[in-house]
Amino acid sequence: MSDATVLISGLGKVFNAGGDNRVVALEDIDLEIGPGEFVSLIGPSGCGKSTLLRLIGDLLPPTSGTIVVNGKEPHRARLDRDYGMVFQKATLLDWRSVRRNIELPLEMMEVNRAERRRRADELLRLVQLSEFAGHYPWQLSGGMQQRVAIARALAFEPALLLMDEPFGALDEMTRERMQMELMELWRRTGRTVVFVTHSIPEAVFLSTRVVVMSPRPGRVAAEITIDLPQPRVFTTREDPRFFDLLTQVRERLRGADEEPS
Protein backbone atom coordinates (compact mmCIF):
# COMPACT_ATOMS: atom_id res chain seq x y z
CA MET A 1 0.00 0.00 0.00
CA SER A 2 1.34 3.40 -0.97
CA ASP A 3 1.27 6.34 1.39
CA ALA A 4 -0.84 8.41 -1.04
CA THR A 5 -3.67 10.45 0.47
CA VAL A 6 -5.86 9.66 -2.51
CA LEU A 7 -5.18 6.70 -4.79
CA ILE A 8 -7.47 6.15 -7.76
CA SER A 9 -7.17 3.35 -10.28
CA GLY A 10 -9.31 2.31 -13.22
CA LEU A 11 -12.14 4.49 -11.95
CA GLY A 12 -15.31 4.78 -14.03
CA LYS A 13 -18.69 6.35 -13.39
CA VAL A 14 -21.83 5.79 -15.46
CA PHE A 15 -25.06 7.60 -14.69
CA ASN A 16 -28.12 5.56 -15.53
CA ALA A 17 -31.09 7.80 -16.06
CA GLY A 18 -33.27 4.82 -16.95
CA GLY A 19 -33.70 3.04 -20.28
CA ASP A 20 -31.05 3.77 -22.86
CA ASN A 21 -30.21 7.05 -21.19
CA ARG A 22 -26.70 6.18 -20.03
CA VAL A 23 -24.14 8.90 -19.47
CA VAL A 24 -20.51 7.87 -19.14
CA ALA A 25 -19.21 10.62 -16.86
CA LEU A 26 -15.77 9.24 -16.07
CA GLU A 27 -13.69 6.55 -17.70
CA ASP A 28 -10.49 4.85 -16.71
CA ILE A 29 -9.17 7.43 -14.27
CA ASP A 30 -5.81 6.77 -12.62
CA LEU A 31 -4.61 9.37 -10.20
CA GLU A 32 -2.35 9.51 -7.17
CA ILE A 33 -2.35 12.45 -4.81
CA GLY A 34 0.33 12.57 -2.15
CA PRO A 35 0.08 14.11 1.30
CA GLY A 36 0.41 17.89 1.33
CA GLU A 37 -0.17 18.25 -2.40
CA PHE A 38 -2.46 20.88 -3.86
CA VAL A 39 -4.02 19.29 -6.95
CA SER A 40 -6.41 21.11 -9.24
CA LEU A 41 -8.83 19.30 -11.53
CA ILE A 42 -9.53 21.42 -14.57
CA GLY A 43 -11.60 20.77 -17.65
CA PRO A 44 -14.57 21.96 -19.67
CA SER A 45 -17.96 21.87 -17.98
CA GLY A 46 -19.47 18.42 -18.04
CA CYS A 47 -16.08 16.68 -17.95
CA GLY A 48 -16.93 15.04 -14.64
CA LYS A 49 -14.48 16.90 -12.41
CA SER A 50 -17.14 17.56 -9.76
CA THR A 51 -18.27 13.95 -10.07
CA LEU A 52 -14.70 12.79 -9.45
CA LEU A 53 -14.57 14.93 -6.30
CA ARG A 54 -17.86 13.41 -5.08
CA LEU A 55 -16.56 9.90 -5.72
CA ILE A 56 -13.50 10.64 -3.58
CA GLY A 57 -15.81 11.94 -0.86
CA ASP A 58 -18.16 8.92 -1.08
CA LEU A 59 -21.05 11.19 -1.95
CA LEU A 60 -21.54 9.04 -5.08
CA PRO A 61 -20.73 5.35 -5.62
CA PRO A 62 -18.27 4.49 -8.41
CA THR A 63 -19.35 2.19 -11.25
CA SER A 64 -15.95 0.56 -11.64
CA GLY A 65 -12.40 0.82 -10.36
CA THR A 66 -11.16 1.61 -6.88
CA ILE A 67 -10.50 4.63 -4.72
CA VAL A 68 -8.42 4.65 -1.57
CA VAL A 69 -8.57 7.66 0.75
CA ASN A 70 -6.11 7.79 3.63
CA GLY A 71 -5.50 4.08 3.08
CA LYS A 72 -9.21 3.23 3.46
CA GLU A 73 -12.30 2.79 1.37
CA PRO A 74 -13.96 6.17 0.74
CA HIS A 75 -17.00 5.06 2.74
CA ARG A 76 -14.86 4.32 5.77
CA ALA A 77 -12.99 7.58 5.25
CA ARG A 78 -16.27 9.50 5.20
CA LEU A 79 -17.48 7.85 8.39
CA ASP A 80 -14.11 8.68 9.98
CA ARG A 81 -14.54 12.31 8.85
CA ASP A 82 -11.24 12.20 7.00
CA TYR A 83 -12.07 15.05 4.65
CA GLY A 84 -13.74 18.46 4.66
CA MET A 85 -15.85 19.63 1.76
CA VAL A 86 -16.36 23.12 0.32
CA PHE A 87 -18.90 23.78 -2.45
CA GLN A 88 -19.30 26.61 -4.94
CA LYS A 89 -22.18 27.91 -2.87
CA ALA A 90 -21.25 28.43 0.77
CA THR A 91 -24.32 26.36 1.82
CA LEU A 92 -24.37 27.89 5.26
CA LEU A 93 -27.44 27.25 7.37
CA ASP A 94 -29.05 30.68 7.51
CA TRP A 95 -30.79 30.11 10.87
CA ARG A 96 -27.41 29.63 12.53
CA SER A 97 -24.90 32.31 13.40
CA VAL A 98 -21.45 32.17 11.83
CA ARG A 99 -20.03 30.51 14.94
CA ARG A 100 -22.83 27.95 15.14
CA ASN A 101 -22.35 27.14 11.45
CA ILE A 102 -18.71 26.30 12.12
CA GLU A 103 -19.77 24.25 15.14
CA LEU A 104 -22.18 22.13 13.08
CA PRO A 105 -19.70 19.40 12.07
CA LEU A 106 -18.40 19.29 15.63
CA GLU A 107 -21.95 18.74 16.88
CA MET A 108 -22.07 15.70 14.59
CA MET A 109 -18.95 14.41 16.33
CA GLU A 110 -20.60 15.07 19.69
CA VAL A 111 -17.82 17.38 20.78
CA ASN A 112 -18.85 19.13 24.00
CA ARG A 113 -20.05 22.71 23.97
CA ALA A 114 -16.96 24.35 25.47
CA GLU A 115 -14.61 22.54 23.10
CA ARG A 116 -16.86 23.37 20.13
CA ARG A 117 -16.74 27.00 21.03
CA ARG A 118 -12.99 26.97 21.47
CA ARG A 119 -12.45 25.28 18.09
CA ALA A 120 -14.88 27.63 16.35
CA ASP A 121 -13.15 30.71 17.77
CA GLU A 122 -9.79 29.36 16.66
CA LEU A 123 -11.07 28.74 13.13
CA LEU A 124 -12.71 32.17 13.00
CA ARG A 125 -9.32 33.70 13.79
CA LEU A 126 -7.76 31.55 11.07
CA VAL A 127 -10.12 32.96 8.42
CA GLN A 128 -10.07 36.44 10.03
CA LEU A 129 -13.75 36.58 10.87
CA SER A 130 -13.60 36.71 14.67
CA GLU A 131 -15.67 39.89 14.86
CA PHE A 132 -18.45 38.30 12.80
CA ALA A 133 -18.95 35.27 15.05
CA GLY A 134 -22.43 36.40 16.04
CA HIS A 135 -23.53 37.51 12.58
CA TYR A 136 -25.86 35.54 10.36
CA PRO A 137 -24.87 34.32 6.88
CA TRP A 138 -27.15 36.80 5.08
CA GLN A 139 -25.28 39.65 6.77
CA LEU A 140 -21.99 38.61 5.13
CA SER A 141 -20.63 39.20 1.63
CA GLY A 142 -20.13 36.25 -0.70
CA GLY A 143 -16.40 36.10 0.01
CA MET A 144 -16.95 36.13 3.76
CA GLN A 145 -19.55 33.39 3.49
CA GLN A 146 -17.09 31.26 1.57
CA ARG A 147 -14.45 31.85 4.27
CA VAL A 148 -16.94 30.59 6.85
CA ALA A 149 -17.51 27.51 4.67
CA ILE A 150 -13.75 26.88 4.55
CA ALA A 151 -13.44 27.31 8.32
CA ARG A 152 -16.32 24.86 8.75
CA ALA A 153 -14.61 22.32 6.47
CA LEU A 154 -11.50 22.55 8.66
CA ALA A 155 -13.48 22.08 11.88
CA PHE A 156 -12.57 18.46 12.45
CA GLU A 157 -9.03 18.94 11.24
CA PRO A 158 -9.27 16.68 8.20
CA ALA A 159 -6.06 15.77 6.39
CA LEU A 160 -7.88 16.24 3.09
CA LEU A 161 -9.87 19.19 1.74
CA LEU A 162 -12.19 18.66 -1.22
CA MET A 163 -13.12 21.95 -2.88
CA ASP A 164 -15.67 22.18 -5.69
CA GLU A 165 -15.17 25.53 -7.47
CA PRO A 166 -15.22 27.32 -4.12
CA PHE A 167 -14.47 30.74 -5.63
CA GLY A 168 -16.51 30.25 -8.80
CA ALA A 169 -19.28 32.63 -7.75
CA LEU A 170 -17.01 35.44 -6.51
CA ASP A 171 -15.95 38.57 -8.34
CA GLU A 172 -12.39 38.72 -9.68
CA MET A 173 -10.94 40.89 -6.91
CA THR A 174 -12.47 38.93 -4.06
CA ARG A 175 -11.41 35.78 -5.82
CA GLU A 176 -7.74 36.76 -5.97
CA ARG A 177 -7.78 37.73 -2.32
CA MET A 178 -9.39 34.43 -1.39
CA GLN A 179 -6.76 32.57 -3.41
CA MET A 180 -4.03 34.30 -1.40
CA GLU A 181 -5.78 33.41 1.84
CA LEU A 182 -6.21 29.81 0.78
CA MET A 183 -2.50 29.57 -0.11
CA GLU A 184 -1.61 30.94 3.30
CA LEU A 185 -3.95 28.48 4.97
CA TRP A 186 -2.62 25.56 2.97
CA ARG A 187 1.00 26.38 3.81
CA ARG A 188 0.25 26.80 7.48
CA THR A 189 -1.91 23.71 7.94
CA GLY A 190 -0.19 21.35 5.51
CA ARG A 191 -3.47 19.81 4.31
CA THR A 192 -3.88 17.94 1.06
CA VAL A 193 -6.23 19.81 -1.25
CA VAL A 194 -8.17 18.57 -4.26
CA PHE A 195 -9.53 21.63 -6.00
CA VAL A 196 -12.02 21.70 -8.87
CA THR A 197 -11.96 24.79 -11.06
CA HIS A 198 -12.50 25.92 -14.62
CA SER A 199 -10.17 28.90 -14.30
CA ILE A 200 -6.72 28.27 -15.75
CA PRO A 201 -4.94 31.10 -13.83
CA GLU A 202 -6.55 29.94 -10.60
CA ALA A 203 -5.40 26.35 -11.13
CA VAL A 204 -1.84 27.41 -12.01
CA PHE A 205 -1.53 29.93 -9.19
CA LEU A 206 -2.74 27.60 -6.44
CA SER A 207 -1.57 24.14 -7.38
CA THR A 208 1.47 22.00 -7.08
CA ARG A 209 -0.04 19.92 -9.87
CA VAL A 210 -2.81 20.52 -12.43
CA VAL A 211 -4.81 17.58 -13.75
CA VAL A 212 -6.33 18.39 -17.14
CA MET A 213 -9.48 16.43 -17.92
CA SER A 214 -11.02 15.72 -21.31
CA PRO A 215 -14.68 16.32 -22.10
CA ARG A 216 -17.20 13.54 -21.60
CA PRO A 217 -16.34 10.82 -20.96
CA GLY A 218 -13.99 12.45 -18.46
CA ARG A 219 -10.42 11.14 -18.56
CA VAL A 220 -7.10 12.40 -17.34
CA ALA A 221 -5.68 14.11 -20.46
CA ALA A 222 -2.54 15.50 -18.86
CA GLU A 223 -0.86 16.12 -15.54
CA ILE A 224 1.25 19.25 -15.32
CA THR A 225 3.56 19.84 -12.38
CA ILE A 226 3.51 23.49 -11.36
CA ASP A 227 7.09 24.28 -10.38
CA LEU A 228 6.48 27.89 -9.40
CA PRO A 229 8.38 28.75 -6.21
CA GLN A 230 6.63 28.62 -2.85
CA PRO A 231 5.25 30.61 -1.18
CA ARG A 232 3.05 31.89 -3.95
CA VAL A 233 2.70 35.64 -3.60
CA PHE A 234 1.03 38.47 -5.43
CA THR A 235 3.96 38.82 -7.86
CA THR A 236 3.83 35.11 -8.73
CA ARG A 237 1.15 36.07 -11.24
CA GLU A 238 3.71 38.29 -13.00
CA ASP A 239 6.42 35.61 -13.18
CA PRO A 240 7.24 34.64 -16.82
CA ARG A 241 7.12 31.00 -15.73
CA PHE A 242 3.48 31.61 -14.62
CA PHE A 243 2.54 32.62 -18.17
CA ASP A 244 4.51 29.67 -19.52
CA LEU A 245 2.46 27.29 -17.42
CA LEU A 246 -0.81 29.04 -18.29
CA THR A 247 -0.03 28.41 -21.95
CA GLN A 248 0.86 24.79 -21.25
CA VAL A 249 -2.41 24.14 -19.44
CA ARG A 250 -4.41 25.99 -22.06
CA GLU A 251 -2.86 23.96 -24.86
CA ARG A 252 -3.44 20.68 -23.04
CA LEU A 253 -7.06 21.70 -22.51
CA ARG A 254 -7.47 22.45 -26.21
CA GLY A 255 -5.74 19.21 -27.10
CA ALA A 256 -8.10 17.34 -24.80
CA ASP A 257 -11.04 19.07 -26.42
CA GLU A 258 -10.05 17.98 -29.90
CA GLU A 259 -9.48 14.35 -29.00
CA PRO A 260 -12.24 12.22 -30.51
CA SER A 261 -14.49 10.80 -27.83
Binding site: G57, L59, R78, R81, D94, E131
Partner: protein
Protein backbone atom coordinates in the same frame (compact mmCIF):
# COMPACT_ATOMS: atom_id res chain seq x y z
CA UNK B 1 -17.75 45.18 4.19
CA UNK B 2 -18.17 45.61 7.94
CA UNK B 3 -19.70 49.05 7.44
CA UNK B 4 -22.18 47.69 4.94
CA UNK B 5 -23.30 45.01 7.37
CA UNK B 6 -23.92 47.29 10.34
CA UNK B 7 -25.70 49.79 8.14
CA UNK B 8 -28.03 47.10 6.89
CA UNK B 9 -28.74 46.14 10.49
CA UNK B 10 -29.48 49.68 11.56
CA UNK B 11 -31.88 50.32 8.72
CA UNK B 12 -33.93 47.26 9.60
CA UNK B 13 -34.43 48.37 13.22
CA UNK B 14 -34.93 52.15 12.81
CA UNK B 15 -37.44 51.62 10.01
CA UNK B 16 -39.57 49.66 12.49
CA UNK B 17 -41.74 52.47 13.90
CA UNK B 18 -42.35 54.31 10.63
CA UNK B 19 -43.13 50.99 9.00
CA UNK B 20 -45.67 50.12 11.69
CA UNK B 21 -47.37 53.53 11.37
CA UNK B 22 -47.60 53.20 7.60
CA UNK B 23 -49.09 49.75 8.00
CA UNK B 24 -51.72 51.07 10.45
CA UNK B 25 -52.49 53.96 8.10
CA UNK B 26 -53.11 51.65 5.19
CA UNK B 27 -55.27 49.44 7.37
CA UNK B 28 -57.51 52.41 8.23
CA UNK B 29 -57.71 53.59 4.61
CA UNK B 30 -58.82 50.15 3.40
CA UNK B 31 -61.29 49.84 6.29
CA UNK B 32 -62.87 53.19 5.36
CA UNK B 33 -63.09 52.18 1.70
CA UNK B 34 -64.83 48.93 2.63
CA UNK B 35 -67.30 50.74 4.90
CA UNK B 36 -67.92 53.31 2.16
CA UNK B 37 -68.61 50.49 -0.32
CA UNK B 38 -71.03 48.82 2.08
CA UNK B 39 -72.92 52.01 2.87
CA UNK B 40 -72.78 53.10 -0.78
CA UNK B 41 -74.52 49.91 -1.88
CA UNK B 42 -77.23 50.38 0.72
CA UNK B 43 -77.70 54.04 -0.23
CA UNK B 44 -77.85 53.24 -3.96
CA UNK B 45 -80.27 50.35 -3.41
CA UNK B 46 -82.59 52.52 -1.29
CA UNK B 47 -82.49 55.30 -3.88
CA UNK B 48 -83.40 53.03 -6.83
CA UNK B 49 -85.88 50.89 -4.91
CA UNK B 50 -83.73 47.74 -5.01
CA UNK B 51 -82.66 47.70 -8.66
CA UNK B 52 -79.49 48.55 -10.54
CA UNK B 53 -79.50 52.26 -11.44
CA UNK B 54 -81.55 53.11 -14.60
CA UNK B 55 -82.71 49.50 -15.01
CA UNK B 56 -85.39 47.28 -13.59
CA UNK B 57 -82.90 44.50 -12.81
CA UNK B 58 -83.11 43.61 -9.12
CA UNK B 59 -79.99 43.91 -6.96
CA UNK B 60 -78.72 40.56 -5.59
CA UNK B 61 -79.19 41.66 -1.97
CA UNK B 62 -82.15 43.72 -0.78
CA UNK B 63 -80.91 47.00 0.71
CA UNK B 64 -83.13 46.31 3.72
CA UNK B 65 -81.07 43.17 4.46
CA UNK B 66 -77.94 45.32 4.71
CA UNK B 67 -77.93 47.12 8.02
CA UNK B 68 -75.95 50.30 8.49
CA UNK B 69 -72.47 49.73 9.90
CA UNK B 70 -73.40 51.79 12.94
CA UNK B 71 -76.56 49.70 13.45
CA UNK B 72 -74.44 46.52 13.49
CA UNK B 73 -72.08 48.03 16.03
CA UNK B 74 -75.06 49.43 17.96
CA UNK B 75 -76.72 46.02 18.14
CA UNK B 76 -73.60 44.66 19.81
CA UNK B 77 -74.26 47.00 22.74
CA UNK B 78 -77.91 45.97 23.05
CA UNK B 79 -79.00 43.16 25.38
CA UNK B 80 -78.75 39.78 23.69
CA UNK B 81 -82.37 38.95 24.57
CA UNK B 82 -85.20 41.13 25.73
CA UNK B 83 -84.84 41.46 29.50
CA UNK B 84 -81.32 40.01 29.54
CA UNK B 85 -78.65 42.04 31.26
CA UNK B 86 -75.93 40.60 29.01
CA UNK B 87 -74.99 42.64 25.94
CA UNK B 88 -74.81 40.95 22.55
CA UNK B 89 -71.08 41.72 22.42
CA UNK B 90 -70.46 40.09 25.79
CA UNK B 91 -72.51 37.10 24.70
CA UNK B 92 -70.60 36.79 21.42
CA UNK B 93 -67.21 37.20 23.09
CA UNK B 94 -68.08 34.47 25.55
CA UNK B 95 -69.18 32.29 22.63
CA UNK B 96 -65.97 33.12 20.77
CA UNK B 97 -63.86 32.20 23.80
CA UNK B 98 -65.66 28.85 24.04
CA UNK B 99 -65.28 28.16 20.32
CA UNK B 100 -61.65 29.25 20.31
CA UNK B 101 -60.72 26.74 23.00
CA UNK B 102 -62.26 23.93 20.94
CA UNK B 103 -60.49 25.25 17.84
CA UNK B 104 -57.16 25.63 19.67
CA UNK B 105 -57.21 22.04 20.96
CA UNK B 106 -58.04 20.85 17.44
CA UNK B 107 -55.35 23.10 16.01
CA UNK B 108 -52.67 21.73 18.34
CA UNK B 109 -53.63 18.10 17.82
CA UNK B 110 -54.09 18.56 14.06
CA UNK B 111 -50.84 20.52 13.79
CA UNK B 112 -48.89 17.76 15.55
CA UNK B 113 -50.51 15.05 13.44
CA UNK B 114 -49.82 17.09 10.29
CA UNK B 115 -46.17 17.60 11.25
CA UNK B 116 -45.77 13.92 12.16
CA UNK B 117 -47.29 12.77 8.87
CA UNK B 118 -45.05 15.19 6.98
CA UNK B 119 -41.96 13.71 8.64
CA UNK B 120 -43.06 10.11 8.11
CA UNK B 121 -43.83 10.82 4.44
CA UNK B 122 -40.51 12.61 3.97
CA UNK B 123 -38.54 9.72 5.49
CA UNK B 124 -40.46 6.91 3.80
CA UNK B 125 -41.42 7.82 0.26
CA UNK B 126 -43.44 4.59 -0.29
CA UNK B 127 -45.71 5.56 2.60
CA UNK B 128 -46.29 8.94 1.00
CA UNK B 129 -47.32 7.30 -2.27
CA UNK B 130 -49.55 4.86 -0.41
CA UNK B 131 -51.26 7.25 1.97
CA UNK B 132 -51.35 10.59 0.21
CA UNK B 133 -54.47 9.78 -1.88
CA UNK B 134 -56.42 9.10 1.33
CA UNK B 135 -55.10 12.26 2.94
CA UNK B 136 -56.30 14.24 -0.07
CA UNK B 137 -59.60 12.36 -0.18
CA UNK B 138 -60.17 13.18 3.49
CA UNK B 139 -60.18 16.86 2.60
CA UNK B 140 -62.53 16.45 -0.33
CA UNK B 141 -65.33 14.90 1.72
CA UNK B 142 -67.66 17.75 2.75
CA UNK B 143 -67.23 18.75 6.35
CA UNK B 144 -71.00 18.98 6.73
CA UNK B 145 -71.24 15.25 6.06
CA UNK B 146 -68.53 14.30 8.50
CA UNK B 147 -69.33 16.60 11.40
CA UNK B 148 -72.60 14.87 12.44
CA UNK B 149 -70.91 11.44 12.24
CA UNK B 150 -68.06 12.54 14.47
CA UNK B 151 -70.54 14.00 16.96
CA UNK B 152 -72.54 10.75 17.04
CA UNK B 153 -69.40 8.59 17.44
CA UNK B 154 -68.08 10.81 20.20
CA UNK B 155 -71.32 10.62 22.15
CA UNK B 156 -71.40 6.81 21.74
CA UNK B 157 -67.85 6.73 23.08
CA UNK B 158 -69.09 8.82 26.03
CA UNK B 159 -66.69 11.63 25.17
CA UNK B 160 -67.63 15.23 25.96
CA UNK B 161 -69.20 17.02 23.00
CA UNK B 162 -66.46 19.68 22.82
CA UNK B 163 -64.00 16.91 22.04
CA UNK B 164 -65.99 15.97 18.94
CA UNK B 165 -65.80 19.60 17.86
CA UNK B 166 -62.04 19.64 18.44
CA UNK B 167 -61.68 16.47 16.35
CA UNK B 168 -63.47 18.23 13.50
CA UNK B 169 -61.19 21.27 13.91
CA UNK B 170 -58.14 18.96 13.89
CA UNK B 171 -59.46 17.30 10.75
CA UNK B 172 -59.29 20.62 8.90
CA UNK B 173 -55.97 21.60 10.47
CA UNK B 174 -53.67 18.70 9.69
CA UNK B 175 -53.80 18.73 5.90
CA UNK B 176 -52.07 22.08 5.11
CA UNK B 177 -49.48 21.27 7.77
CA UNK B 178 -48.73 17.86 6.25
CA UNK B 179 -48.35 19.25 2.73
CA UNK B 180 -46.15 22.18 3.76
CA UNK B 181 -44.05 20.19 6.23
CA UNK B 182 -43.30 17.71 3.47
CA UNK B 183 -42.41 20.49 1.05
CA UNK B 184 -40.29 22.28 3.66
CA UNK B 185 -38.42 19.12 4.65
CA UNK B 186 -37.50 18.65 1.00
CA UNK B 187 -36.50 22.29 0.51
CA UNK B 188 -32.76 22.09 1.42
CA UNK B 189 -30.49 22.18 -1.60
CA UNK B 190 -28.73 19.03 -2.73
CA UNK B 191 -25.38 20.44 -1.59
CA UNK B 192 -26.71 20.99 1.95
CA UNK B 193 -27.70 17.33 2.08
CA UNK B 194 -24.28 16.35 0.68
CA UNK B 195 -22.66 18.48 3.35
CA UNK B 196 -24.47 16.54 6.07
CA UNK B 197 -23.42 13.31 4.38
CA UNK B 198 -19.81 14.48 4.36
CA UNK B 199 -20.13 14.83 8.15
CA UNK B 200 -21.34 11.22 8.30
CA UNK B 201 -24.52 12.64 9.85
CA UNK B 202 -27.27 10.15 10.65
CA UNK B 203 -30.69 10.52 9.00
CA UNK B 204 -32.00 11.64 12.36
CA UNK B 205 -29.34 14.36 12.71
CA UNK B 206 -29.94 15.50 9.13
CA UNK B 207 -33.65 15.71 9.94
CA UNK B 208 -33.33 17.82 13.09
CA UNK B 209 -30.30 19.93 12.21
CA UNK B 210 -31.07 20.59 8.55
CA UNK B 211 -34.52 19.59 7.33
CA UNK B 212 -36.79 20.66 10.19
CA UNK B 213 -35.22 24.12 10.65
CA UNK B 214 -35.39 24.58 6.87
CA UNK B 215 -39.07 23.59 6.95
CA UNK B 216 -40.11 26.05 9.69
CA UNK B 217 -41.10 28.95 7.40
CA UNK B 218 -43.23 26.54 5.34
CA UNK B 219 -44.81 25.08 8.46
CA UNK B 220 -45.76 28.50 9.82
CA UNK B 221 -47.38 29.44 6.54
CA UNK B 222 -49.48 26.28 6.86
CA UNK B 223 -50.27 27.01 10.51
CA UNK B 224 -51.76 30.38 9.54
CA UNK B 225 -54.06 28.67 7.04
CA UNK B 226 -54.84 26.06 9.65
CA UNK B 227 -55.62 28.63 12.34
CA UNK B 228 -58.56 29.96 10.34
CA UNK B 229 -59.55 26.47 9.19
CA UNK B 230 -59.69 25.23 12.77
CA UNK B 231 -62.09 28.06 13.69
CA UNK B 232 -64.32 27.15 10.74
CA UNK B 233 -64.12 23.50 11.78
CA UNK B 234 -65.14 24.35 15.33
CA UNK B 235 -68.04 26.56 14.23
CA UNK B 236 -69.38 23.95 11.80
CA UNK B 237 -68.77 21.20 14.33
CA UNK B 238 -70.88 22.99 16.93
CA UNK B 239 -73.97 22.94 14.71
CA UNK B 240 -74.79 19.22 15.00
CA UNK B 241 -73.38 19.08 18.54
CA UNK B 242 -76.48 20.95 19.80
CA UNK B 243 -74.66 23.16 22.26
CA UNK B 244 -76.27 26.20 23.68
CA UNK B 245 -72.91 27.95 23.74
CA UNK B 246 -70.33 28.74 21.06
CA UNK B 247 -70.20 30.85 17.94
CA UNK B 248 -71.79 28.14 15.80
CA UNK B 249 -74.82 28.16 18.05
CA UNK B 250 -74.93 31.99 18.05
CA UNK B 251 -74.74 32.15 14.25
CA UNK B 252 -77.52 29.58 13.99
CA UNK B 253 -79.90 31.26 16.42
CA UNK B 254 -79.25 34.76 15.08
CA UNK B 255 -79.92 33.53 11.55
CA UNK B 256 -83.50 32.64 12.64
CA UNK B 257 -84.09 36.35 13.22
CA UNK B 258 -82.31 37.50 10.08
CA UNK B 259 -85.43 38.74 8.31
CA UNK B 260 -86.47 41.03 11.15
CA UNK B 261 -83.12 41.98 12.62
CA UNK B 262 -80.09 41.15 10.46
CA UNK B 263 -77.76 43.30 12.58
CA UNK B 264 -77.17 40.57 15.17
CA UNK B 265 -76.18 37.96 12.59
CA UNK B 266 -73.76 40.41 11.01
CA UNK B 267 -72.42 41.11 14.49
CA UNK B 268 -71.82 37.39 15.01
CA UNK B 269 -70.12 37.15 11.61
CA UNK B 270 -67.92 40.07 12.59
CA UNK B 271 -66.90 38.43 15.86
CA UNK B 272 -66.18 35.13 14.05
CA UNK B 273 -63.95 36.97 11.61
CA UNK B 274 -62.17 38.76 14.45
CA UNK B 275 -61.59 35.41 16.14
CA UNK B 276 -59.88 34.15 12.99
CA UNK B 277 -57.72 37.28 12.80
CA UNK B 278 -56.84 36.93 16.47
CA UNK B 279 -55.77 33.31 16.00
CA UNK B 280 -53.66 34.03 12.92
CA UNK B 281 -52.10 36.95 14.80
CA UNK B 282 -51.20 34.62 17.64
CA UNK B 283 -49.51 32.18 15.24
CA UNK B 284 -47.64 35.09 13.61
CA UNK B 285 -46.39 36.14 17.03
CA UNK B 286 -44.99 32.67 17.72
CA UNK B 287 -43.45 32.66 14.24
CA UNK B 288 -41.61 35.90 15.01
CA UNK B 289 -39.98 34.18 17.98
CA UNK B 290 -39.15 30.98 16.11
CA UNK B 291 -38.09 32.11 12.64
CA UNK B 292 -35.60 34.93 11.89
CA UNK B 293 -36.99 37.78 9.79
CA UNK B 294 -35.06 36.99 6.60
CA UNK B 295 -36.50 33.53 6.41
CA UNK B 296 -40.15 34.41 7.06
CA UNK B 297 -42.69 34.27 4.28
CA UNK B 298 -44.46 37.59 4.77
CA UNK B 299 -48.23 37.37 4.90
Amino acid sequence: MAAMTTEALRSTTSAGLGHALRKAGWFLVILLILIAGWEGYKWMGSATGGTYPFTSVALPVRPAAIPHVWDILGSLAEPVQRGSDQSTLAFLLEAAWFTWREAAVGFLVGGLIGFGLGIVFALFAPLERGFMPYVIASQTVPLLAIAPMVVVWASRAQLPAWMAVSVIAAYLTFFPVTINTLRGLRSPEATSVELMRSYAASQWATLWKLRVPAALPYIFTALKVSATASVIGAIVGELPASFNVGLGRALLSFSYFFATGPEKLYGAVLVSALLGIFFVGLVTLVERLAVPAVRRVET
